[in-house]
């Protein structure tokens, strides 16, 4: 006769625990909608900043731009080059 009481008690405890868990979970995610909106706004801002930075980087790193800047700074294309092609006149051992 004791077993059904034990079983019922266990079931009741489980029920209470699950209810508490459910209430806690529901409470914790009840504000997720707002957080999601905030996060999405943040993602959008970061994406825009990324796009702007990439544009600036690509413009700054373009050879067309570098070449123009080099010219304004007085650099000129090398007309001759030095090659150290001949074998070294040294014994390797």
């Amino acid at each position: 006769m004791k077993k059904p009481y034990l079983l019922l008690t266990c079931l009741f405890v489980v029920l209470v625990i699950l209810s508490v868990v459910r209430i806690t979970l529901v409470n914790s995610i009840s504000t997720t909608g707002k957080e999601l909106v905030d996060l999405e706004a943040k993602i959008n801002t970061l994406k825009k900043q990324n796009a702007l930075l990439q544009e600036q980087y690509l413009q700054a790193a373009s050879y067309t731009n570098i070449s123009l800047k080099a010219k304004t700074m007085g650099f000129a294309q090398a007309k001759s080059q030095l090659n150290m092609a001949a074998p070294l006149p040294l014994a390797l051992r």
């Binding site: 909106v37 413009q59 790193a61 373009s62 050879y63 067309t64 080059q81 150290m84 092609a85």
Partner: protein, 565 residues
């Protein structure tokens, strides 16, 4: 039951019946119509635009990317002092205040003022705190290197429905891969019109476009652009085109044309500049064609480099036409090497006669002359060879020195890849890898199209071409210290049934280092005026670019360098 009670009962039953019938009308008879009407009020369908894929050079630099831009619009109903606002916008939008004022005076809620403004300008306009002015985000195709490789890249325009579409070059050829797939989402709004996040159901995911990584080496591309532009301008030519290929893989390392255009502002340029001359220009190749015929004859075992020409003592007469050398000088003891070195037309007629028409056409077919190269660019033109029955003796004779038949520079470059690559002709490719939106990379493997000649023949013809560079007409321009194989070409242009003596297509094709080619390059200069010869126009452009490429690759000279060059 009194009559009052009955009357009240039936009265209420009647009223109840009326309510039921009205409800039936709304809930059943007009249910679908009202449901749709309601859905239209609280549901909003939005298109999730897929991001177009980037095009990157081999160093990972995005040569075609996407840029954030804005459309400035106005709500004239919210603007009270329209003239004052128009004056404030005039310097920012670079439009006359009268034009802006006319737009602001329209009886509309939304009027576009200026598209495609950048973020800096947007911030400046925002700082003015002008009422009724708003911004709509836009994505623009952005080419940071401006006109560099423009003919190779193509551009993004609009299709009939106003959607982005790639035209010409890579943007055209790979449009479906680059544009991705737009998504669709239905947002449910609450009573205040704000979106309910939990109800963003019924959406189809957008798939961003794929990124392309090219074989194009940005440094070689830039150097080639510079040299070609300088060459076309110095030699007073109509235009020029050039390309560099890795003969071992078929990868296109650079492709340039001048004059060119800026793909970001393609509308401001003539339509004629959009196509890529390197793959669309059909021309008579002239003497650059000779090594292909000579390679065929060598491969067939019909002659050797030291075989003497028996008809080279003077002009050769065929069907009433005299075939002459370009300088009208003749050497009765010419060897086949001399024929290539001095670009001797009579010697090529001798070679052609030994080869015969059938074998010549078979070799040309194996070299890919007359068929598409298969390059991954939109708009390739591939002149085909005439039917065998239409070849006469004079046609075969002139074809041996590259006149009377048309090719494209791309066909020539692909054909010569066989000579530079141990006899194997490679399929040309601009794109090396395709990267999907989920991070997978698809590598396009090199593909051998054919093997027109044996590795031994390729070595022999390479040596002849090295000698052509060292001792031929273009020797003054040669890059000192390196063994470079090459051939000049000066082709006359057919005009109304005859050749114009003063208008030529000057070209040079070659590869270096000859013993282990790292690049194969072709330069074509269209109608140069300072000199009509390839040796004096296309060859210097080739050697200047070759010098830069050899230096960039860090390839040391293999021969003594004299004159301090």
């Amino acid at each position: 039951m009194s009559w009052r009670y009955r009357f009240t009962l039936f009265f209420f039953l009647f009223l109840f019946g009326l309510v039921i019938s009205r409800l039936f009308y709304w809930q059943v008879v007009r249910a679908d119509e009202l449901s749709a009407l309601g859905q239209a009020q609280y549901d909003k369908q939005i298109t999730l635009t897929a991001q177009r894929g980037e095009i990157k050079t081999s160093d990972g630099y995005a040569i075609a990317a996407n840029k954030l831009a804005y459309l400035v619009f106005a709500n004239p109903k919210e603007i009270k002092e329209k003239d004052k606002e128009a004056e404030a916008l005039e310097p920012l939008l670079s439009e006359k205040s009268a034009t802006i004022s006319a737009l602001l005076n329209l009886d509309k809620f939304w009027v576009p003022l200026k598209p495609h403004i950048d973020n800096t300008l947007k911030v400046q306009i925002e700082a003015k705190n002008l009422p009724g002015i708003g911004f709509q985000e836009q994505t623009l195709r952005f080419y940071p290197e401006a006109s560099t490789a423009a003919n190779l890249l193509g551009f993004v325009g609009k299709d009939d429905n106003g959607n982005d579409k790639g035209y010409f070059g890579l943007e055209g050829y790979y449009d479906r891969q680059l544009k991705g797939k737009d998504g669709l989402a239905i947002i449910t709004n609450d009573a205040r019109g704000k979106p309910i996040l939990a109800n963003m159901n019924d959406s189809t995911e957008k798939v961003d476009g794929r990124d392309l990584t090219l074989h194009i080496d940005r440094r070689i591309q830039f150097m080639l652009d510079q040299e070609l532009k300088q060459g076309v301008q110095s030699y007073g030519a109509v235009r020029g085109t050039a390309a560099v290929m890795d003969p071992k893989t078929g990868g296109i390392l650079a492709m340039s044309s001048y004059p060119s255009y800026d793909p970001s502002n393609y509308q401001q340029y003539s339509d004629s500049l959009y196509s890529n001359p390197f793959i669309t220009f059909a021309y008579e190749p002239g003497s650059t064609f000779k090594p292909l015929i000579m390679a065929g004859a060598l491969d067939a075992g019909l002659l050797q480099p030291d075989t003497r020409c028996t008809i080279c003592a003077g002009p050769v007469e065929i069907d009433g036409y005299d075939i002459r050398t370009w300088n009208n000088e003749y050497d009765a003891n010419s060897t086949m090497t001399d024929v290539i070195v001095h670009s001797d037309n009579t010697g090529m007629v001798f070679t052609g006669r030994l080869l015969g028409l059938d074998r010549m056409l078979a070799y040309l077919d194996k070299f890919g002359i007359g068929s598409a190269t298969g390059i991954d660019l939109q708009g390739e033109v591939y002149p085909s060879l005439r039917d065998k029955s239409e070849w006469h003796e004079i046609d075969q004779a002139t074809a041996t020195f590259g006149q009377g038949l048309t090719v494209s520079p791309m066909q020539m470059l692909t054909a010569f890849s066989a000579i530079a690559n141990g006899g194997k002709r490679m399929e040309p490719h601009v794109v090396d890898k395709v990267e999907t939106a989920d991070g997978n990379t698809i590598t396009i493997p090199p593909k051998v199209l054919d093997q027109p000649i044996s590795p031994e023949t390729s070595k022999v013809i390479t040596e002849m071409m090295v000698k052509a560079v060292d001792e031929g007409e273009a020797k003054f321009a040669k890059t000192p210290g390196y063994r470079i194989a090459g051939k000049t070409g000066t082709a006359q242009i057919p005009v109304e049934g005859h050749y114009d003596a003063n208008k030529t297509i000057a070209s040079f094709i070659g590869f270096a280092p000859a013993d282990n080619p790292q690049f194969l390059m072709m330069v074509v200069i269209d109608r140069p005026t300072s000199s009509i010869y390839g040796a004096e126009t296309a060859a210097p452009v080739f050697f200047k670019a070759a010098k830069n490429i050899l230096s960039y690759y860090g390839i040391p000279p293999t021969e003594p360098v004299t004159d301090g060059k």
